[in-house]
């Protein structure tokens, strides 16, 4: 395979990256939701897997076995902690327009410049070697392909390819990572490329894994057992006791911290996050990604060992050497592209993250504090100045990485450099975790903790490295500096049991944490710190922004703020931003010389912070406005007030929901009242109507008798008999109405006793025996053997029975059946007859008052029409139910229930 093929494929791949980035940039203008998806977010987090994963893991697996996997277990643990930790950091960063970890830490500790500088410097020193490592991975992989054709390595190609790749990456990063001046704006082109590269590296690595495991060998079991047969690699199958466990656990802790604090992870995970809710899907998608990319590491490593033995091929190169050995050039090229994408993705994002820190926390604060706020200069220069600084920072970072690689990093192993970087960024853990969970943590604590941590990091990791490379005398590692043995960098204070990384991590992180806590406890916080500590720990949401009084006192003119903003984002956009803010918060910003309130000042500072970093924004604000100092007790007051406002708001919301609940209840009660009023009217109308019918006939009949004194006695007797009957009916009706009224008003008293139901039913039935005989009906009474006793008012229940049996007798044709039976927790008394029955549509109304009267289809009203209504009231008063239905043999069945005391 010619080298030119490799170069052409590489160039085509670069061209594809540029095409994807510019396509995504263009598309995102019209389709804003293009990249706002949890899968996109999860895949972009895959930037965690670098050339180290791709080449280094296999190398490590082939030399020390399974411990390569520990640095992927840390991020998986973090995935479970996304909500308490990462979600909080994202929310704070969005609210305050924070664009880097340096900004995050310096703002948390009262916008402290020194902290921002310290974090930025530590990142640059700690991470540049890591970027160099990726350059090394790309160049090495190219060399492996080059050597497949040429027998001797050519140093020129190493140099040329390294420089060429650096230049292309600088160009790309500037083009798509430093496009606009607002760093809080997302970079869709960049994200599209990172997602694309994440997919490519995963697919390429899985393809190689399948190729090796199932193509060259016969599955994983086959590879493992063949290695086991050789018996020289037994140590790969287990962890060594003792030292390996410490190393394993420290790598888990390191990778957990690195996942949050590496500049590229913070940039992708926090700054480029489009929606914090994507964390939910990402929290399982990302671990799946990690698992997949690690699935075939061990088989590939062992496959390499089987193919090459302990030959002269470096384990770090197995990934490429295997397909080349098989002369499968397509597979080799695919693998190479995958490895290149892993390395370039890391370099691009890491460089952007670092360049933001360098420009916002190192260059710009120095620039603005020395020259002052340039009022007179034309607007455009500020914007282009910021961009220029950002772009120069990118070039600076990449050149530094290139120089490191060319002059120092050639001989280091991939994994070791990576772990040094991990250990450096782990020093941010106490200040960051403390910052979001512990209000008392202050800038002195953070500063001293991180300083101590970095000094120990440098002493225990970098000094030994320099000694190994001959820059320092090797004696320092055996005898200690100046012969002091307890200061030997790798055995600090005589701690000998740990490997070098665990040793460094243990001393740096514990002393860092202890310093942070102890110093924080014994020093006081400044007023700014008190305010931001409360804000970070409570993670105030953006929509609660108006509720919070900000701490700022002084005089500032709207026009000054607008000018300041204009010089960084352009006049048009500044006006737009300001007006949008004014509308949101009900502030007047149109008057030329109006004084700005605290919110507007804070808003301007936040927006500026998004562009040039919080530290520089602070300096500019101090210059553009007249600030007064705020005493600490005032800040405490303001925080108290904010807390109270939030509490009052919560209380108000609660009250208002209660109120609406109450008014709903009131409405329902009112509706009920209106309905019952209407019922009352109807009742009154029906009653009077019912009373008038017998009254009319009484009057008519008595008038006839009165007007005709000469009527014969027989006829007179007939008329008077009718009058008496009508009068009886009238008085019956009146007594029924009175009784019903008693029930309705609740004045009806029950006089319950223990009643034998069997006896009661028999008594009532026997009172009908004459009538039943005369109508030639049969009466079946079905009663349980053991007579049930029920606690009820005997007279009233008797009345119900009389009423219903009476009705049955009235309508029945042949048979009446009375039945008493137990139904779960109550006694059920049913009376059925084979009469004309009740229409199914009226079944539910039959117990209403005067149902009969209102239903004039019935030819002649029989009874008052109140009987069943009274029955219903009585049964309900006893806690039972009453209803009518039709049985299977087409009988009408009235049923009522009485609660059983025993159950």
């Amino acid at each position: 395979m010619s080298v030119w093929v490799v170069i052409i494929v590489g160039l085509i791949y670069m061209a594809v990256l540029f095409a994807i980035a510019s396509l995504a940039e263009q598309l995102s203008i019209t389709r804003r939701n293009l990249l706002k998806h949890p899968i996109v977010y999860a895949l972009s987090l895959g930037v965690y897997c670098t050339g180290w994963t791709y080449y280094g893991s296999v190398g490590r697996a082939a030399t020390t076995g399974i411990d390569f996997i520990s640095i992927y277990l840390g991020p998986t643990i973090m995935a479970g902690l996304f909500f308490p930790v990462l979600y909080k950091i994202i929310r704070i960063s969005r609210t305050l327009h924070l664009t880097s970890l340096a900004d995050f830490i310096s703002v948390r500790y009262g916008k402290n410049f020194s902290l921002g500088i310290l974090v930025s410097l530590a990142c640059v020193i700690g991470v540049i070697p890591y970027i160099a490592l990726q350059l090394k991975a790309i160049v090495n992989s190219f060399q492996v392909l080059y050597l497949a054709e040429h027998s001797t390595p050519n140093p020129d190609t190493v140099f040329l390819s390294a420089v060429f790749i650096t230049l292309v990456l600088s160009f790309f990063t500037i083009l798509y990572g430093a496009r606009s001046v607002d760093a809080t704006e997302k970079h869709p082109g960049l994200i599209a490329v990172i997602v694309f590269e994440s997919i490519i590296k995963l697919v390429a690595f899985l393809a190689l894994g399948v190729y090796v495991t199932y193509g060259l060998f016969d599955g994983m079991g086959d590879i493992f057992s063949r290695i086991a047969e050789q018996a020289i690699h037994d140590d790969l199958f287990t962890l060594d006791d003792g030292v390996s466990y410490q190393g394993w656990t420290s790598m888990i802790v390191l990778s957990l911290c690195a996942f949050l604090f590496l500049p590229r992870q913070f940039h992708i995970g926090v700054v480029e996050n489009t929606n914090p809710r994507h964390l939910r899907q990402a929290s399982w998608l990302f671990p799946v990604y990690l698992l997949l990319i690690n699935l075939f590491v061990m088989p590939i490593a062992l496959g390499g060992l089987l193919l090459f033995g302990d030959g002269d091929i470096l384990p770090d190169n197995f990934v490429l050497a295997i397909p080349l050995h098989q002369q499968d050039y397509v597979m080799a090229l695919t693998t190479w592209i995958g490895g290149t994408s892993a390395a370039t993705g890391m370099i691009i994002v890491e460089t952007i993250g670092l360049s933001i820190m360098i420009s916002n926390n190192l260059v710009m604060p120095l620039l603005y504090s020395s020259t002052g706020y340039p009022r007179e200069k034309p607007v455009v220069t500020q914007q282009s100045k910021v961009l220029l600084i950002r772009r120069l920072s990118i070039v600076f970072v990449l050149m530094l990485a290139l120089a490191y690689y060319l002059f120092i990093g050639m001989q280091l192993s991939l994994v070791f450099i990576g772990l040094i970087s991990f250990c450096a960024v782990a020093q941010f853990a106490p200040a960051t975790f403390g910052g979001i969970f512990w209000k008392e943590g202050n800038k002195f604590g953070a500063l001293s903790g991180m300083l101590v941590g970095f000094i120990i990091w440098f002493y225990t990791l970098i000094i030994p490295d320099l000694a190994h490379n001959g820059i320092l005398s090797e004696s320092i590692l055996t005898e200690g500096p100046f012969g002091i043995t307890w200061l030997i960098p790798t055995e600090l204070f005589g701690l000998q049991q740990f490997d070098i990384i665990s040793h460094a991590l243990f001393w740096s992180l514990t002393s860092n944490t202890i310093c942070y806590i102890v110093v924080s406890i014994y020093t006081k916080r400044s007023s700014q710190e008190v305010y931001y500590a409360a804000m970070f720990v409570n993670a105030i949401a953006k929509d609660e922004e108006q509720n919070n009084r900000t701490i700022w006192r002084g005089t500032a003119y709207i026009s000054d703020l607008l000018n300041l903003l204009s010089s960084f984002v352009g006049t048009e956009k500044a006006g737009k931003l300001m007006r949008a803010f004014a509308v949101r918060n009900n502030v007047n910003v149109d008057e030329e010389f109006a004084l700005a309130d605290n919110h507007t000042v804070a808003f301007t500072e936040r927006t500026l912070g998004g562009i040039i970093g919080a530290a520089s924004a602070r300096i500019l604000m101090q210059k553009a406005t007249k600030e007064e100092d705020i005493r600490i007790d005032e800040v405490v007051d303001i925080l108290q007030e904010n807390k109270q406002i939030i509490a009052v708001n919560k209380e108000l919301r609660k009250k208002s929901t209660e109120l609406s609940k109450a008014s709903k209840l009131l409405q329902e009660a009112n509706d009920k009242l209106l309905a019952s009023d209407k019922q009352k009217d109807e009742f009154l109308y029906t009653v009077t109507h019912e009373l008038r019918t017998p009254m009319t006939s009484i009057r008519a009949l008595s008038e006839i008798v009165y007007d005709n004194p000469d009527l014969d006695a027989e006829q007179k007797q007939l008329y008077l008999g009718a009058v008496v009957k009508e009068t009886e009916r009238l008085s019956h009706l009146i007594s029924q109405v009175l009784k019903l009224e008693q029930f309705d008003s609740g004045r009806q008293q029950l006089y319950p006793t223990m009643v034998n139901l069997n006896e009661l039913i028999r008594d009532v039935s026997s009172s009908f025996s004459g009538l039943i005989q005369s109508k030639e009906l049969t009466l079946d009474i079905l009663l349980p053997e053991d007579a049930p006793k029920v606690y009820c008012d005997r007279d009233m229940i008797g009345q119900v029975l009389v009423n219903i049996i009476g009705n049955a007798v009235k309508f029945s044709n042949t048979t009446i059946r009375v039945k008493l039976e137990k139904a779960s927790k109550e006694w059920e008394i049913s009376i059925s007859d084979d009469g004309k029955g009740v229409d199914s549509e009226v079944q539910e109304f039959i117990f209403d008052k005067f149902f009969q009267a209102k239903n004039q289809t019935l030819k002649k009203p029989e009874g008052s029409g109140l009987g069943l209504a009274i029955c219903k009231k009585i049964v309900q008063l006893h806690g039972g139910r009453i209803w009518v239905s039709r049985t299977e043999n087409n009988e009408t069945q009235f049923v009522f229930t009485l609660p059983d005391l025993d159950s």
Partner: protein
Amino acid sequence: MNPSSRQAKAILSSVLFFGAVSYPVLSIVNKKISVAGIPVIYVYVFAVWILMIIALIALNFNRSNRKK
């Protein structure tokens, strides 16, 4: 599931996972035994890893919550 109980469960699964892949639990499987030809520690770490992922899916893959 309300957010705070989901959060507590997620934290718990992280803690359990950390415990499961650390000393001394890890030393139980750190032996020269093979399962279907594959070293037991290798099988164990991947199995625990998959369990953790399943737990995270169970906690976060929920359509009704996603709409919120």
